[in-house]
């Protein structure tokens, strides 16, 4: 346990010794390499490579991100940055993840004011989109293995997919409807044999 807690850090959440520079750098890398979608790269960097959070925490933060307005990418940056180094961590994380894309688009803006649609961009995008489908699927598989509590959770997963894809419900509505069911399913049980008092 660290005795030297950074100011503004959360008591009770496991402290880390990750530096501000490391947070900025890692999110900069994510921001610069996350082609085809950000969530898989967030997981690859933060969970698999750096072990700053585990898959359960990852999905927990993802849930919060999805429930709030704003992009998942930037919400996740704020939450992870905050967990590691408080407000400053959150700021450098979101800065890091936005900077590369912003700079690239800045350059694009300088040169493409009156440019028509380039055939190559459209063609490349088709390949990118197809590859991105495979990427997200692999992330779903990985997360399902690590972050679910029991086999029944697949029912809730299926209900979510049905609600959004078949019944065309909005994300907020689905979150509330299926979420409530799932939360009730996982409701706190009377402790029968509590081994450790947290």
């Amino acid at each position: 346990m660290n005795s030297d807690l950074p100011r503004g850090a959360n008591i009770g959440v496991s402290q880390s010794e990750v530096s501000i520079g490391q947070i900025f750098l890692e999110f900069l890398i994510i921001g610069a390499t996350s082609f085809g979608g950000v969530v898989p790269y967030l997981r690859g960097s933060l969970v698999t490579k750096r072990h700053w959070i585990d898959d359960k925490e990852f999905v927990e933060m993802l849930s919060i991100s999805q429930s709030l307005p704003g992009l998942n990418a930037t919400n996740m940056a704020i939450l992870v940055g905050e967990k590691l180094r408080g407000a400053l961590g959150a700021v450098v994380a979101i800065l890091g993840i936005c900077l590369p894309g912003a700079l690239i688009m800045y350059v694009v803006g300088m040169f493409y004011r009156s440019h028509g649609d380039h055939v190559w961009i459209t063609a490349a995008l088709k390949g990118v989109a197809a590859a991105a489908v495979g990427l997200v699927l692999s992330t779903v598989v990985g997360l399902s293995k690590k972050s679910l509590t029991g086999n029944f959770d697949f029912v809730f997963m299926a209900l979510t997919v049905i609600a959004v894809n078949r019944l065309h419900q909005s994300v907020p509505r689905t979150l509330i409807a299926v979420g409530l069911l799932a939360i009730l399913f996982h409701r706190p049980r009377k402790p029968q044999k509590e081994s450790v008092a947290s």
Binding site: T74, M105, V128
Partner: protein, 152 residues
Amino acid sequence: MAAFPEMKTLTVDVHNWLTFPQLIHLYSVGQMAPGPNMMMIVPIGLWTGGVLGAIVVVLAFFGPTAVLTFIVGRLWNKLEKWPWRQSIQQGLAPVSIGLLLAGCFTMAKGAIFGLETATIAVVVLLLLLNYKINPALLILAGAVIGILSFSA
């Protein structure tokens, strides 16, 4: 992406900062760029207000939600001992992963339309499940195959 219709209404129709074809083009290029999708707003800020405009759009677009998320994150941490917190976390986990999957299916509807795209998706999935490869490389490979297959 949910912001797109509103963005079109405001930037194209109300303020005439750019045309609809320009907006769509920016969106496509923004998709190719790494990082958060919505960096397409940077050129809009640039064309309208120079460097300052570019900075302002980023602050305006990401600022408010960043603050909200930060506050909610802090509140969530304070609730660590609350029994229902674990229920919420366990309950929302399958829903969150389900949302990812649902988004993937929505993407697939448009993205998978023939042998080439289906193959790309399946190969990428299998490679990522079985080997440790940087996904960015696979996405870029997809882009190259796309150019080879689809430039008329």
